[in-house]
């Protein structure tokens, strides 16, 4: 193993390609993070609503997208959906749809846990001063619940960032896809993929540690 001449320079010579990849990763990450966590809140509220017309579709949505692999969903949106849909589906759209819906399903459960963990007395006090449902959610419940849900939601965000690599399977130009391109041109898969792995690690590890610290602080505070 030692005979191999590691040559990271060849990877960094293609730094423009890497930057393109990084931007691609960030773009799909932000789309899926915002859309996924927002949709997740709506679905989470619907899932435990008193109206059956909201509850059942939400439950089906959550169970389906939690129990099917993301890559299958991405392939479906890229290969199957365009035939049904009257418009073009780019790799970005297909991957974003798959990852967003998947993340919404998982975060719906996080929101449910967070919201139901708030003391019912808070609902009572807010109702007693005449607040309506949306006001109570917005001003009293969610602000308190979000603090508690932060570690779990941050974990979801980390998962979403990792899932962006799946978009390379349908040729969306994120980091891993670019690395594959570099590797095939320069015949340096070892360095190329090592760089990508390290890039993700360097970005995510501090966030992971911060999440641990956050969880510990909250366990003490509560």
């Amino acid at each position: 193993m030692m005979e191999y001449n590691w040559d990271f320079a060849s990877v960094f010579m293609s730094h423009e390609a890497l930057v393109v990849g990084l931007i691609g990763t960030l773009r799909i990450f932000i789309i899926c993070l915002v859309a996924g966590l927002s949709l997740g809140l709506v679905v989470g509220l619907a899932r435990y609503s008193r109206r059956r017309a909201l509850r059942w579709p939400a439950a089906v949505f959550v169970e389906f997208f939690r129990n099917t692999p993301v890559l299958v969903q991405i392939f479906w949106f890229y290969f199957a959906f365009p035939i049904l849909a009257p418009f073009d589906i780019s790799p970005l759209m297909a991957a974003a749809l798959g990852i967003t819906l998947n993340s919404a399903a998982f975060s719906a459960e996080i929101y449910r846990g967070g919201i139901t963990s708030i003391d019912p007395g808070q609902w009572e006090a807010a109702r007693a001063i005449g607040m309506g449902y949306l006001q109570i959610m917005r001003r009293i419940i969610l602000p308190q619940a979000l603090r508690r849900m932060l570690p779990a939601l941050t974990n979801r965000g980390i998962e979403i960032l990792k899932m962006t690599t799946l978009a390379s399977a349908i040729a969306y130009g994120e980091l891993l896809h670019q690395a594959r391109l570099i590797a095939s041109i320069n015949y340096n898969p070892i360095e190329a993929y090592t760089v990508v792995a390290l890039a993700f690690f360097v970005i995510l590890y501090p966030i992971v540690r911060a999440t641990y610290a956050l969880e510990r602080r909250m366990a003490k505070g509560d």
Partner: protein, 263 residues
């Protein structure tokens, strides 16, 4: 507040109030007129329905049957089968006119004391910040906690929290105050400061219903006492009668068990 010599209209008129939770028939026909300035103490054993009764008055629980008339207007909507329903959208307006103080205080922990008291003013009554804060400080001063305006609830004692809760309810200028065992969750040495505030409200002539175990306090502050058992009002009258010379055997039995109070 001067006492009007002409016979006044009741602030709250309750007729035939029933509440069922599934098979459990908790309130079995309550009739009551609450006149302006009344301080009504509601006594009873656990399970007598006294908390449920109070919670029906501001629709934290929806009555199964019965009519509740607030200042001449019968609340809710009549349905074809004779019962009434209470659409959620109409309730906030009612709840601004009836204030409630809870046993567990239920302050909003993520807001300061001032924030807790202004919340109703700003979000429900849509007043601007300056007006709300001025009004809130009035109430906080009345309950003796003006200097704690910027503190968060976690830093307050139980008695202080409950006084903030009272200020929060008063800030909306309700016609009627409901106190649901306001001192039951407090350490004994903190009970006095809360009772002191309630007493001063009573002396101002505030209309209130007070569910409490503090029988001695009820004797001094209330002008009417209700004793509840088995979901109905067993006995009602002035404190001297109900507390010192109860007619109803249930009342007698209850008071006999609570001999430790002093008049």
């Amino acid at each position: 507040m001067t006492v009007d010599p002409t016979p006044a209209e009741p602030i709250l008129r309750i007729r035939g109030l029933h509440k069922r939770f599934g098979d459990n028939h908790v309130l079995r026909g309550i009739n009551l007129d609450v006149m302006p300035g009344d301080r009504i103490a509601v006594l009873g054993a656990s399970g007598s329905g006294k908390s449920t009764f109070l919670r029906c008055l501001n629709f934290m629980e929806i009555p199964s049957e019965g009519e509740i008339t607030l200042e001449g207007t019968m609340l809710g909507r009549a349905l074809r089968d004779g019962s009434r329903d209470y659409p959620e959208s109409t309730l906030p307006a009612v709840r601004q006119r009836i204030g409630m103080v809870f046993q567990q205080f239920n302050l909003f922990p993520h807001m300061t004391t001032l924030g807790n008291v202004t919340e109703g003013l700003r979000i429900v009554q849509h007043r601007d910040r300056a007006t709300s804060e001025a009004r809130a400080m009035q109430e906080l001063t009345r309950v003796g906690l003006a200097e704690k305006a910027q503190e968060y609830p976690a830093r307050l004692s139980g008695g202080q929290k409950q006084r903030v809760a009272i200020a929060r309810a008063l800030a909306l200028d309700p016609q009627l105050m409901l106190f649901d065992e306001p001192t039951s969750a407090l350490d004994p040495e903190l009970v006095g400061e809360v009772l002191g505030v309630i007493r001063s409200l009573a002396e101002e002539g505030r209309t209130m219903l007070l569910v409490t175990h503090e029988v001695g306090f009820a004797y001094h502050v209330a002008n009417r006492v209700i004793f509840m058992a088995d979901g109905i009002i067993q006995e009602e009258g002035p404190p001297d009668q109900v507390l010192k010379a109860p007619q109803n055997p249930r009342t007698q039995a209850f008071l006999a068990r609570h001999k430790q109070f002093e008049f």
